[in-house]
Amino acid sequence: MKIHQIDLHCHAGKSLKETLSFAHSTWRRIVGITEVVYNEKTETFENGSQNALSLEDFLQLRAEVDQLKSEFPDMQLFLAPEISAAFDYTALDDQWIAASDYFFCLPEEDKITTECMLSQPERAHAISRHTGKSTFLAYPFRSLWISRIQAGHRAPEKYAGPKGLTDEAVISALGFDLHAFAHMAVSLGVAVEINGETYSRIRSYNHPYYYDVLQRAYEILHRRGVSLVPGSGLRGFRPGKSGFAVPEETFEILGISGSDIRFLDQIGAKRI
């Protein structure tokens, strides 16, 4: 099975059927449908339910996913809430848990220290223990790396390309102890996403250094035994114009094939 056929982070959008049709036409065969969720009992979202799903919305989405499975018989469909950093996961009750095939959690956006970064695999692990369902950590470096670039971190004057990027250079660029992060993720058994949208955003900086740092960070994680999962972060699309893709190139560089994605076993996905 090819990596591009596995997408564990695909937003449902306004029409789930259209999204699934697009996912099918773009060769996705194991698809994790998601949306941001919020718990009315414990938090409010400034944007209201436009961008986030309440439990009732989520249960409706679950019903829709199940209903559409027969229309896409060669796809394996899963449903996984996107748990923001602010979401009180202890409030996930049996209804949420029963309706979810797995979970994934987002990193904190504005606290970027080694301590904070280490807390992220811990949180994913805690959600997994609370729910009894597998949980991965979505795009762990996105906000961190983009924030540092926006704050003024620039490519070295005479950047020599990825071969010249040492682990120390990557750790220095990202500003936190990536080795410790990897160790935490491995010890807790938390998988980490390689996210297509993140690559699209980083590519927009044009200079290859920013992309190479991200790529090398994943290489470090892989080398240290972290389980990696593919996700596009697809959020809307226009056929032939836009739509985030599964970042297959990174998995190829790392030598990871579809059969190596251990998270698939945890959610009961069958490789084609």
Partner: protein, 282 residues
């Protein structure tokens, strides 16, 4: 100098996002490592196809001249950049009656080719005629001219019509010239040979790469790259460009497709078109 530092197709005129100035666009180009920059805009935005609503410039030749003037006023603020002005001419632009003022303010031109849905022979004829048109514009204006995103709409249309990933696709190394020509529906060898004989350069466009990535399966981007491999092998001069229209730092913005140039073994010094426009390769 590296290929990603060269971007000969960067929109910063009428299609600027509402809250962004020309300075913002050049700032972004600078911040993202571009050192040779071709600022452009579609000719259609300056009179041939009027649009409603607020515009950054009057939809007239005077508007395009103002755009050029704004650019000239900013040059000294970006001394490390070489900035050129190059209108993008649509496939229906009447170049024979082009106002001399457009020629005067332009450092080079970018020609957008037409496309059709015809079978291979007729599409190849069309593309060869577009090469001849590109050359004719260069001759008429006395300014260097290249062809933009040659396969974009043809390839996107054929994918949309149902030409899909082959069963058991084994990756870019398994691709053949015949397979790619069949997918695009173009005799790429004939097209390439004609481009070489006319001395017309062809663009490798970041926007096209972005669109093909959205199909998720790598096959389509592999096919595009293979098409450029054929062009390169036949001696076609290739130019790098993003085709950026808008950007939001950290979120969006098309980039120069440097990976394709790397795959082809083309460095900045190999970009012959730069000599034609007087750009200095550091």
């Amino acid at each position: 100098m590296h290929v990603f530092e060269i971007d000969l197709h960067y929109h910063a005129g009428q299609e600027r996002r509402e809250n962004k100035s020309l300075r913002d666009y050049i700032d972004f180009a600078h911040m993202t490592g571009r050192k040779i920059l071709g600022i452009t805009d579609h000719d259609t935005r300056y009179g041939t196809r009027l649009r409603e609503g607020p515009q950054h410039y009057p939809q007239s030749i005077e508007g395009m001249m103002q755009y050029r003037q704004d650019l000239d006023e900013l040059r000294s603020d970006f001394p490390s950049m070489q900035i050129f002005f190059a209108p993008e001419l649509s496939s229906v632009f009447e170049y024979k009656t082009m106002d001399d003022r457009i020629i005067d303010i332009s450092d080079y031109f970018i020609c957008e080719p037409a496309s059709n849905h015809e079978e291979m022979e007729l599409y190849t004829e069309l593309m060869i005629s577009e090469l001849e048109r590109t050359k004719a514009i260069a001759n008429h204006t006395g300014k260097p001219t290249y062809m933009a995103h040659p396969f974009r709409y043809r390839l996107l249309n054929r994918i949309s019509e149902g030409r899909t990933l082959p069963e058991g696709y084994m990756g870019a190394c398994s691709m053949t010239d015949e397979e790619v020509m069949e997918l695009i529906g173009l005799d790429i060898v004939a097209f390439a040979d004609h481009a070489v004989s006319l001395g017309v350069a062809i663009e490798i466009n970041g926007g096209t790469h972005y669109r093909l990535r959205s199909f998720n399966a790598p096959y389509y981007l592999d096919a595009l790259r293979h098409a450029f491999k054929i062009l390169h092998r036949r001696g076609v001069s290739l130019v790098p460009a993003s085709d950026l229209h808008g950007f939001a730092p950290g979120q969006s913005g098309l980039s120069v497709p440097k990976e394709t140039f790397e795959m082809l073994g083309i460095t900045a010094r190999d970009i012959g078109f730069l000599n034609q426009i007087g750009a200095k390769v550091e």
